[in-house]
């Protein structure tokens, strides 16, 4: 009698093992994976694990990461006019832009003491509702979309995003409000 193969799951009684559809690991197509690995040197480990399990469809972190990767993985010769313009901006111009934004308000911004100028500029961009919602979308993609719709988003924001990507800071693509809104707290955890 042939040796019985071990059963993979407890199905209805019978000698045949049943197919299990519950734990199937769906892998994203390799092109997105290659784009991700190409554009980022350091990569945060938890989004990567989510990436192979294709949870990008329901949680925003992996989806935002893949959106950012697609935006940045364009070959060099396809760089748009805006990107070339943004790369020419100097540190001084970016700081001048931020000073002008701060001058628009009478009181200084609170809870922003520990942030650098880059993050402050990006948070202002996130909160500008005329460019659309900032949650569930990568900052770069949001900028490109606003530009395409003719809303004239500030070029300094694009400059800051490109600089941060060059430094390898991939967490910059996700808006801070996005992290706040999708934070989960399990009751009982300290």
């Amino acid at each position: 009698m042939p040796r019985r193969r071990s059963r993979s799951s407890l199905g209805p009684t019978g000698t045949q093992s049943t197919l299990s559809f519950s734990n199937s690991k769906v892998h994203k197509p390799t092109s997105a994976k290659e784009a991700l690995s190409k554009s980022t040197a350091k990569f945060i480990s938890s989004p990567k694990a989510e990436h192979t399990l294709d949870l990008g469809h329901i949680t925003s972190a992996a989806a935002v990461a893949s959106q950012a990767a697609i935006e940045l993985a364009k070959p060099v010769k396809e760089k748009s006019i805006e990107e070339l313009q943004a790369e020419k901006l100097t540190d001084g111009q970016i700081k001048k832009y931020w000073k002008a934004r701060e001058a628009e308000r009478q009181a200084p911004r609170v809870h922003q003491a520990g942030l650098g100028v880059e993050e402050k500029i990006l948070r202002l961009f996130d909160m500008s509702s005329q460019y659309g919602p900032a949650i569930g979308i990568a900052r770069m993609k949001r900028w490109v979309r606003a530009n395409k719709l003719g809303l004239a988003p500030p070029i300094e924001v694009l400059a800051v995003l490109l600089r941060e990507e060059k430094k390898g800071n991939t967490g910059i693509e996700r808006a801070h409000v996005d992290e706040l809104m999708s934070a989960k707290f399990v009751i009982g955890d300290t």
């Binding site: 559809f21 990008g56 989806a63 659309g132 919602p133 949650i135 979308i137 979309r145």
Partner: protein, 510 residues
């Protein structure tokens, strides 16, 4: 040997009468892929992006119209001023602002009723209209900054649903409600001329040679004048595994379209029909296979591979496949999915997969060789909503879900009025994503009509209706509401030169 043709002689020679072999007119056709979704779909984004995209696309248009009408206008000594955002409206100040309409209706599907369904035996039946008889419905104007409720007699006259972009002029009263004096909609988008809508059309899947003519800016041969083509549209065929009373009507329909019945004159006119568009609901909804009660369903069906195989009935798709395979050898068909068809639930519905049609799929898409352009197959399964070009006319067709949803928001039964309102709002599914399930678009809202179609048709309607509307820049749109064939037995035929419609009704004397 000559046959003597004397009286009483029954023998006759072969007939010398020549029979004209009728040929069907070729169809000049191009299907646009405006509503096709990518294979990899993401659902983590919110629907707020869709509203933002719609508002951004249509706000400049409606603001231009409003500025033309209201700039410099004085009402009782006060000048009307433009306000950028809804929240910038000041109390007592006469102003105008553009935004999205949101209708707050308590009868709309509510998550709380879904939860109630879990605790009771069954949920109450969904209401036919969301309009409540008392004044519980609030109409609001919304944009990124906020919302403001609207009031005024203007709102009763104008048809409004959630998701349409308007500009309103008026003032905010003491209760914080905006009293509307006047309202403007984007109105019909710019319309291209016939044959000018885009590049070369394709005849039935074979590309015509480009006519190199420096003077003309269209590179397609116009058909020989004198041969008028027609377009046949049908909807709601309703093939079912359980209900077969209309099978004789379907048979008559097939024979009519094949040109097998009636006299040669009618057959000649049938040969002018170059294409059949099936606008949704080819397969009827099977009520038995849907279980409505969650509690009390003690009979557990035997589930193998995760679904109950005994509830599946393959006969409806077999009937549809036979119907298509009978017609396809002679005429190209465009198949648009509907609410009850085997396609995805949310708009835009993707084309029905070729695997559903084992016989008809051989007439389907043939993958193009490298370097060649992809030609549509004789059987073209398309999205819902669908836009394409047939005989040079731009057609926008839907399976009926958008009109049925708008119907729930407004009073009355005037479906053609709703079609016209959609054209004037420049949005073919304004209630998506509020009450009409939709894919969460993040880059572009394809429901916004950027160019005006020549024919706007919707399927699965209770009765046939048609009208021709005009726009401010001379745009002309033919609106067609196609009735359900399973109920009315009617086939709509559109003349491709004048866009006049005629109806052929198939009925069985009982």
């Amino acid at each position: 040997m000559a046959i003597p043709e004397g009286p009483g002689n029954m023998l006759r020679g072969p007939m010398k009468q020549e029979h004209v072999c009728l040929e069907r007119q070729p169809s000049l056709y191009k299907s646009l892929h405006t509503f096709t979704l990518q294979k990899e779909k993401h659902y983590q984004q919110q629907y707020g992006d869709m509203y933002f995209l719609r508002l951004t696309k249509l706000k400049p248009v409606v603001e231009e119209i409003a500025a033309e009408a209201w700039d410099g206008l004085y009402i009782s000594g006060e000048e009307v001023e433009k306000v950028d955002r809804v929240l910038d409206v000041r109390q007592g100040k006469l102003c105008w602002v553009a935004g999205t309409i949101y209708m707050h209706m308590p009868l709309k599907p509510n998550i709380l009723t879904d939860i109630a369904k879990d605790h009771w035996i069954s949920a109450p039946l969904p209401p036919t209209k969301y309009l409540s008889s008392s004044s519980e419905d609030i109409i609001m104007l919304e944009d990124e900054s906020g919302r403001i409720p609207l009031t005024g007699s203007m709102l009763d006259r104008e048809m409004l649903v959630t998701g349409c972009i308007v500009a309103v002029m008026g003032t905010e009263n003491a209760e914080g409600v905006f009293e509307v004096v006047d309202m403007k909609v984007p109105d019909l988008p710019p319309q291209a001329e016939r044959w000018n809508t885009s590049e070369a059309l394709v005849i039935n899947g074979t590309k015509k040679a480009k006519v190199e003519d420096a003077d003309e800016d269209m590179d397609v041969d116009k058909p020989v004048p004198g041969i008028r083509k027609k377009l046949a549209i049908i909807s709601g065929l309703g093939f079912s595994g359980t209900f077969s009373d209309n099978s004789l009507q379907i048979n008559l329909l097939t024979e009519f379209l094949l040109g097998e019945v009636l006299d040669p004159v009618t057959q000649a006119s049938v040969s002018q029909i170059s294409r059949l568009i099936i606008a949704g609901n080819s397969i009827a909804l099977d009520e038995d296979s849907i279980s409505h009660d969650t509690i009390g369903n003690t009979k557990k069906a035997q589930k193998k591979y995760g679904y109950d195989a005994s509830a599946y009935n393959p006969t409806p798709t077999e009937h549809l496949d036979n119907f298509l395979a009978t017609l396809l050898p002679t005429m190209p068909i465009t198949l648009i999915p509907g609410f009850s068809d085997p396609a995805n639930v949310s708009l835009p519905q993707q084309p029905i997969h070729n695997a559903m049609f084992p016989q008809a799929k051989s007439y389907g898409l043939i993958p193009a060789a490298k370097g060649e352009e992809q030609q549509p197959g004789w059987l073209d399964t398309v999205t819902n909503p669908w836009d394409g070009e047939v005989e040079g006319w731009k057609i926008l067709a839907t399976g009926g879900q958008n009109i049925d949803d708008v119907f729930k928001y407004v009073e009355g039964e005037d479906r053609l009025g709703m079609l016209e309102a959609m054209c004037r709002w420049r949005c073919c599914a304004p209630t998506a994503p509020d009450t009409l399930w939709s894919y969460p678009f993040q880059n572009d809202d394809p429901f916004v009509m950027m160019s005006c179609p020549h024919i706007f048709l919707t399927g699965s309607q209770p009765k046939f209706d048609t009208a021709a509307i005009e726009g401010p820049e001379g745009q002309k749109v033919r609106l067609i509401a196609v009735p359900r064939f399973s109920e009315t037995g009617e086939l709509v035929i559109v003349d491709s030169e004048t866009l006049e419609t005629e109806v052929v009704r198939f009925s069985v004397c009982s």
